[in-house]
């Protein structure tokens, strides 16, 4: 038992398991396991019929990791760089390798700036951001919000942070705006007096 040579005999026998569990032992032999060995050189296995792929046209300058020797031939074009967040991201890619904390921390900062820019910009559209519908909290009503949270869930210790993280920035902007307006109005009325 652990302090001697034999393994503690706690598992059921293989025969017992084979009888009880569908497919038990079907892949006992590592040769039947699909990604064993991990690296297997075979040019033809993937279906690629090129040595190097055609190059996707680079319609606007594409940011890339400085650990790359060149722009890879294929890339995503979901949301090109734009605004202040774009400038931060461009700098993070151009200046720091993936090995540097500054690279990732700048990208995380840019993500927060991006959300801010986008929330503000949305206020000028016909469809401003709506934290109620976009967070999906309305689904709580139909999905047993109280019963689901009973029991041993450990996330209860920090669930309270979620609304603060989501609504906090909105409250902050709202509060600042109210203060600013009051200040301007206050100054005006004082002058009038």
């Amino acid at each position: 038992m652990t302090y001697t040579a034999d393994k503690p005999a706690l598992a059921p026998s293989s025969d017992e398991l084979r009888a009880r569990i569908p497919g038990w032992g079907a892949d006992l032999d590592p040769k039947d396991r699909p990604a064993v060995p991990r690296e297997r050189f075979d040019r033809a296995a993937s279906g690629a019929h090129w040595d190097f792929p055609d190059r996707q046209p680079e319609k606007e300058p594409r940011e890339r990791s400085i650990e790359h020797g060149m722009l890879p031939p294929v890339f995503g074009t979901s949301v090109p760089l734009r605004g202040a967040s774009g400038a931060l991201r461009r700098y993070a890619y151009a200046r720091y390798s993936e090995g540097r904390a500054a690279h990732w921390l700048l990208l995380v900062l840019a993500d927060r700036v991006d959300a801010w820019e986008s929330h503000l910009a949305s206020l000028a559209t016909l469809r401003p951001d709506n934290p109620i519908t976009q967070t999906g909290v309305l689904s709580e009503v139909r999905h047993h919000p109280l019963a689901s949270r009973r029991g041993t869930r450990v996330d209860r210790s920090h669930t309270w942070m979620d609304p603060v993280l989501v609504a906090g920035p909105w409250a902050l902007v709202g509060g600042t705006a109210v203060l600013a307006v009051r200040r301007v109005l206050g100054r005006g009325s004082r002058r009038r007096r």
Binding site: P34, W50, P53, Q56, P73, T133, Q134, G136
Partner: protein, 379 residues
């Protein structure tokens, strides 16, 4: 077309977006017929993955029908029903030529440490995902496969990531007959890993989580023993006690970046984004496994550093094996297992939301409401 769009942490909505176009001769445009929300989508949703841009469409688990193909596509035609691995990969680079499809070097300008993934931030290449009506699928001759006639749509969509990744996680554990395998996390991938561990000859499978309804599924569906870590003062001691104080032979981390159970670790990672992931499950794995044992990691972590108990891993002589799953390599074998009735991925699906209500789908899954295990999205 309609597509799910990210608006900032915890906020998404459905927008009208231009349909994707052929940007490369080997692209295909696929009309999505079924998609899923993955546990790792929650890392994006919570704003944890660097360079996730407002306006991106998530979704790396999807199947559909080929709508159009680029001029160099040979293996697919419009009208084909296809399942698409979550990996975007070229099939011909140094890594792809060796079967490391998740680590392709030709599809991601933004990072050399990460391959390409649909709908998974610019750090994973800047591709839009499949929680939409249409999606651009690069390297159509390499990634997608026709869905076999006998396979259900739900099984097919679950094979594009969760089922394949769970099986891959068990495989990374190098399980030998009679091994005790501990699986951290009873989400979809953890449940699949537990089921797969038996196929590889495990003698005991122990699943650890804190959500009782998921542990129930682990007992009834994955035939596993379970431990609710919230009920123990110290889950590592409990794991030692349960294994005659030897420790498990293999530990599988199917939790990743948002692991819970240690307030400081979870909050610094998941809320304050100061770690690449909260390595609570990984640290329990390191301490709960026996000396000389193997740790398999396919729970997703971000690229920022994490506070891992590396000294224990070194002193115990552990083997740490990990990767994103090269999905298409798993498929031939997994198709056989599904046909033989050894695996039945769709049995863990609990919720199906129409694309228009995807914000509610994300919230229900993220807040673990209503016994939610796996959520599908129907465009």
């Amino acid at each position: 077309m309609k597509a799910m769009v990210y608006r900032g942490p915890y906020k998404i909505r459905v927008e009208e977006k231009p349909e994707p176009i052929i940007e490369h001769p080997n692209d295909a445009i696929v009309k999505v017929t079924l998609a899923a929300i993955c546990g790792s989508d929650l890392h994006l949703y919570h704003g944890m993955m660097p360079d996730t841009r407002v306006g991106m469409t998530f979704g790396h688990e999807f199947i559909g029908v080929v709508e159009r193909v680029g001029p160099s596509v040979q293996n697919l035609q419009p009208g084909d029903r296809v399942m698409v691995p979550f990996n975007v990969y070229c099939g011909s680079c140094y890594f792809c030529a060796r079967g490391l499809y998740a680590n392709c070097h030709n599809v991601n300008p933004n990072a050399t440490a990460v391959g390409g993934i649909y709908g998974y931030s610019y750090t994973c290449g800047g591709y839009d995902g499949g929680q939409a009506e249409y999606v651009r699928v690069p390297f159509a001759d390499v990634g997608p496969a026709r869905i076999p006639d006998w396979m259900s749509d739900e099984d097919a969509v679950l094979l594009t990531d969760a089922m394949s990744t769970g099986y891959f996680g068990a495989q990374l554990g190098d399980i030998v007959e009679g091994d005790t395998v501990v699986v951290f996390g009873a989400g979809p991938v953890g449940l699949y890993a537990a089921r797969s561990a038996w196929l590889m000859g495990a003698g005991r499978v122990i699943v650890v989580d804190h959500l009782e309804y998921r542990l129930e599924k682990a007992r009834t569906w994955a035939f596993a023993e379970t431990r609710n870590f919230a009920e123990y003062d110290d889950i590592v001691v409990e794991l030692k006690r349960s294994t005659g104080h030897l420790g498990a032979d293999v530990a599988i981390d199917a939790v990743g970046a948002e692991a819970d159970g240690n307030f400081l670790q979870h909050v610094t990672a998941a809320k304050l984004k100061l770690q690449g992931g909260s390595p609570i499950a990984l640290n329990w794995a390191i301490d709960g496994v026996r000396k000389g044992g193997t740790i398999s990691v396919m729970g997703a972590y971000g690229p920022i550093f994490s506070a891992v108990k590396f000294g224990d891993a070194m002193n115990k002589g552990l083997t740490l094996r990990m990767n994103q799953c090269p999905v298409k390599r798993q498929w031939p074998r997994l198709f056989e297992h599904i046909r033989n009735g050894y695996l039945s991925p769709s049995e863990i699906v609990t919720h199906r939301f129409p694309l228009e209500h995807i914000a509610e789908g994300y919230h229900t899954f993220s807040a673990k409401l209503d016994g939610c295990i796996k959520t599908l999205i129907v465009p």
